[in-house]
């Protein structure tokens, strides 16, 4: 299926914030979640996720912390901050407004 890459780019930030709102995650885990829950639609480039996470961290929307794993290398978990929660709420509202407007136009076109 042809995917509008610009639309996907803008959406991934929202999805990452939403994932972290549910539970802290590490990068690899996020990629797997996004891929599995979207049934393969969001197959995010690995080299693209970390810059996004670091950008969110720089902006204060997430914070990161290394966690020791028994018998395995440590993982860097990302947590949503209070500022990140506000950003998520703002983006969710924007997304809902956007999809509602698109639906209205599409339905009107059918009528």
């Amino acid at each position: 299926m042809q995917v509008d890459t610009q639309l996907v780019k803008g959406t991934v930030r929202l999805l990452v914030l939403r994932l972290l709102d549910r539970e802290p995650m590490y990068g690899y885990q996020m990629i797997a979640h996004l891929r599995d829950r979207s049934e393969g639609y969001f197959s995010l480039g690995e080299g693209a996720l970390y810059p996004l996470l670091h950008e969110l961290e720089e902006q204060g929307f997430v914070r990161a912390q290394w966690q020791e794993q028994q018998g395995r290398p440590s993982r860097r978990y990302y947590y949503l901050t209070a500022k990140g929660k506000r950003e998520l709420a703002r983006r969710m509202q924007g997304w809902k407004g956007f999809t509602k407007a698109v639906d209205l136009v599409l339905e009107a076109s059918h009528a």
Binding site: G47, P51, E58
Partner: protein, 273 residues
């Protein structure tokens, strides 16, 4: 996991972030690649194939490093401030020097009085050095540009200094004579050219730039700066007995090389994605 090491070293060499941040990124990406290769091996790939596939999936290291650099840099005010510092000092000193007038005296006087001209100029290399230690290439570029600008400015305003030898500051240190502001600036330029040579060496040999630059910087630049700082602190050392005319061509070549090297270094850190 030799392929991981090669890949990660190339990634780290291309990063333009603080050493601490570079180490964190290195560690995080390594963890990711290891997890990915384990998953691939579980599907039946050999270890070598899995490693190769994991690395390929992560992307070309320079491009990934450029994105990571931008992500870690975009919102950091300290970097912008560091880059601007050189220019701030140049402006502060030049525009409050008694011979030049006092265009900005009202705004910058608390920071830079005319009497502190030399002292403030010595802070230029301090800012550049801080940038180098912090792994901030942009500071170095900004410092180089600031020195170039100030040199042009001083040479235009004080024509008497035009025929001074470029090597004079170095000679003066060894014969124990006094120096003045133009000698300070020229010494800075030579130091920056040395740092530039380190940059070219790093590019030619494909090695990490920061380590090269810091080595060259400490070996050449800092030595010179360290030698003249005590002299600079003695206010009023303007006369340089025995100064002989030097070729203006050398000055031009040095100044031009600073511009070229600065541009190369800046281009190197830009995002290509």
């Amino acid at each position: 996991m030799r392929d991981f090491d090669d890949y990660l070293e190339r990634l780290r060499a291309a990063l333009d972030v603080t050493p601490k941040r570079a180490h964190e990124i290195y560690r995080e990406v390594r963890t990711h690649l290891e997890a990915k290769s384990r998953e691939l091996m579980a599907t039946g790939l050999s270890e070598a194939e899995a490693v190769q596939e994991a690395v390929r999936g992560f992307g070309e290291p320079r491009r990934v490093a450029a994105r990571l650099t931008e992500a870690n840099d975009k919102y950091r005010r300290a970097n912008q401030f560091g880059a601007a510092l050189g220019f701030m000092f140049v402006f502060a000193t030049m525009f409050t020097a008694p011979n030049v007038g006092a265009l900005m005296t009202g705004t910058v006087l608390p920071l830079a009085k005319a009497q502190s001209l030399f002292q403030l100029l010595t802070m230029l290399p301090a800012a550049v050095l801080a940038g180098m230690v912090a792994g901030r290439r942009r500071w170095w570029v900004a410092g180089a540009a600031a020195v170039l600008w100030s040199t042009a400015f001083v040479m235009a305003v004080f024509p008497v200094f035009r025929d001074r030898s470029s090597w004079l500051p170095v000679k003066l240190h060894f014969i124990g004579d006094a120096i003045d502001v133009i000698d300070v600036i020229r010494t800075l330029m030579w130091g920056l050219v040395m740092a530039g040579c380190g940059y070219l060496g790093s590019r030619a040999l494909g090695r990490g730039m920061v380590s090269w630059l810091v080595g060259v910087f400490c070996g050449g630049y800092v030595t010179l700066i360290g030698l003249f700082i005590p002299s600079v602190m003695v206010w009023g050392t303007i006369h340089v007995p025995g100064a002989r005319p030097g070729p203006l061509m050398i000055q031009s070549v040095v100044a031009f090389s600073v511009v070229v090297l600065g541009a190369l270094a800046y281009r190197d850190r830009r995002i290509s994605a």
